[in-house]
Each structure stands twice: as C-alpha cells, then as structure tokens.
Symmetry: C2
Subunit: 209 residues, 2 copies
C-alpha cells in the first residue's frame, strides 16, 4: 500500500544502510536490488526510484562507506615528541595494520570493490582516491625520514616511501583475509622492525665485513 513516508534524503540513507548490511553479510555477489529492498523494508521499485540504477547504488554505497570509514592514520599524523622519524612511521604502520585487521568484514568488501573497479571506471576512480588518501597519511613521516638521511634515500621521494608502507599493509591484509590462521600480523610487524630498525648492536653487525 503506497503512501508518502519519508523525504528523499532519509530514505536514501536508510537504503544505503540496508545495502551495507547486505553487502557485509553476503558481499557484492549477494547484493541484489531485491535483497537490499527487502532488508530496508521497501519495494524494489522504490529503490530504483531513489537510485537511478544498481550501478548508481553500488557507486553511492562505496562513496558512503569511504566517507563513513575512519581511514586509519588520521589520528596520528602529528610526530610524537622524542622519537626518531622511523619509529614514528613504524608506529603508524603498526596501528594501521592492527586497525585494518579488526575490520575484516569491511576490508573484504573493499577488495570486492577493488576487483569490480578493474572493470568499472567510476568505481576505480573512487578506490584510487581512497588508496591515495591512505598512502598520503604516511607522507609526513616518510618526509621526515628522508630529511633525516637524504643521502640514504637519494633519488627517492616521500611518496615512494609512503607507497612501500601502503604496499606492506595491503599485502598483510591480503594474506590475513585469505588465511588468518597462518598469518600473524604481530610477528610480521616485528619482522619489519627487525629489518629496518636494527638495534645498535645489529646496526654494527650490518656493516660490511
């Protein structure tokens, strides 16, 4: 039985929330117009009244997710006092990694979109922007590291260093989602620490023989 109930903005938000619930449960493969409409308690027709098409819904949902996700690294952009830049960057990587692994559901969904994006230009643009923002969060720390040892990072930019950090975290996410029992994020983090921040004794032993 028809009848006005909610203004457009409210309904749109209700539907987007329902879409997220469906996507979190059944992934993008299970996200159909009927499923979302049912979850939102409305008809399929109404959904396409508020969103021009399923494509539009997918794009709007991704947009909504990205704007409602606290992209990690947003809270610790300022350099902590008394620590070396490399320790600052490491702390960021560690926190981001831990944060990422806690919201596995959302990350899996993000990968669904990532795959979709390889064929869908609009979604690819959104995903790219998100990953760039993610990477850029590491830039200040990366810049400080390079400024500290310009000769060591000769020819490299803060972007390069930030990209490596992002790659490491994304790779860890890949492994942990596929096989959580075998991949240990804490040990991976410790390994990274040992690799790039040798203790004083190991820094000595790292000298050429």
């Amino acid at each position: 039985m028809p009848g006005r109930k909610a203004p457009e903005s409210v309904r749109r938000d209700e539907i987007l929330r329902a879409a997220y619930r469906v996507a979190a449960r059944d992934r993008l493969g299970g996200l159909t117009i009927r499923a979302v409409a049912s979850e939102a308690g409305v008809s399929a027709g109404l959904l396409l009244f508020h969103f021009e098409s399923k494509d539009g819904l997918l794009v709007d949902l991704l947009d909504w997710m990205l704007s409602h996700t606290i992209v990690a690294g947003e809270l610790h952009r300022r350099p902590p006092a008394g620590t070396r830049p490399i320790a600052w960057l490491m702390a960021m990587v560690e926190r981001d990694l831990a944060h990422l692994l806690k919201q596995r559901e959302r990350v899996e969904l993000f990968y669904d979109y990532w795959v979709l994006g390889t064929r869908h230009p609009v979604i690819r643009r959104l995903i790219r922007r998100a990953l760039h923002r993610y990477r850029d969060a590491f830039r200040p720390a990366a810049q400080a590291i390079i400024a500290e040892h310009p000769e060591r990072y000769a020819g490299l930019s803060a972007d390069d260093l930030a990209g490596v950090c992002a790659a490491f975290i994304e790779g860890c996410a890949t492994q942990t989602i596929l096989d959580p029992s075998r991949f240990n994020a804490a040990r991976a983090m410790a390994t990274l620490q040992a690799l790039v921040v040798p203790s004083s004794s190991s820094a000595l032993s790292a000298l050429p023989l």
Copy 2:
C-alpha cells in the same frame, strides 16, 4: 550435427584453454558457460558433459592456471655465491616483483579468484596452497638471513620473514594493477633497498645519536 570428434582428455584441454582465453579477456565476471563454449567452438551442452558444472569448470581452470604458471622464485632458489643473504633475498623480491608486473592479466585474474575464494572453500584451498608455495620460495634466503643475525631476528622464524616478502610483493601488485601510472615498482624496490640494506655510511648514521 553431432558426431564423435575428440577423446575426453583432448576436449577438456581445448575447453580449458578457451576458458582461459575468455577469462583473460573478460575476467571471471564474463566467464559464462556459453561464452567459453562459443570460444571453444562447441555447444554449451558439451561443456557440461565434460565438466560437471560451472563450479567444476572454475575450479579446474584455476588448477590448470596454477600448474601452467611458472610461480616466480622457482628459478633462483640457490644462493648466489659471494653475496650476503640479505642481497640474495632482495634479488628474489626484485625478480618476483618484475615478473609479476609483466603478467598483469594473469595477476588480475588471480585476484578475481582470490575474491571468489573468500566465499568458495575449494577455491580458497587452491589459492592458499598457491600463496603458501609462493611464500615458501623465500624461506631458504630468509633462513640464511636469520642464521646470520640470530640475535637481530630473535623470536622470529624464516616463515615470518618470508611472509613479509610475500606481503610486500602482493601489496605492490595491488597498487600497480589499480593505478599503474602512479606506482613505480623500480622506485618501490629502491626504497625497500634503502630501508633494509643501508650503505656503510648510512649504517653508521643509523646508529643512535
């Protein structure tokens, strides 16, 4: 017009090749029974005579892909003479990364399967096995590194170090597939080098102040 033409094994291989061609062109989303049958020049019915279902075809195709792909790292397992273990590992990472980026098509398809695997147990098992094999290729070098500096990597295993290498490469693949114009693999590799293999002067300057 029906009529016997090829024995089962031959037809199966023909169809698998056709399936790979379709998947490489249109990804898993475009891989339909009819599309594969058409590409192979047979009827859809025949495809399901040789493969029990589309699911079976997907699994067999992944299996076929994995056994027909030279997983990187297979040719340089032996330690090169005269180099430090860390340089050995770095050379492996560098070669694997370059190798991966050259077959973008195949890697994209692999990611499609990866996403599918998060909901499909059989495919997940295959992908896991492949990633474990990938990671294990780094183990000998990782083991040598740890043996060289046991105190530096105290509490860590060759598996951990190998996992970090795999994560780095997979993360680079993620970035490069989504945004090839911005991600530069060579610079990422150089950055990694600078991070973990400081030159003698920078090793000195890395000492605590």
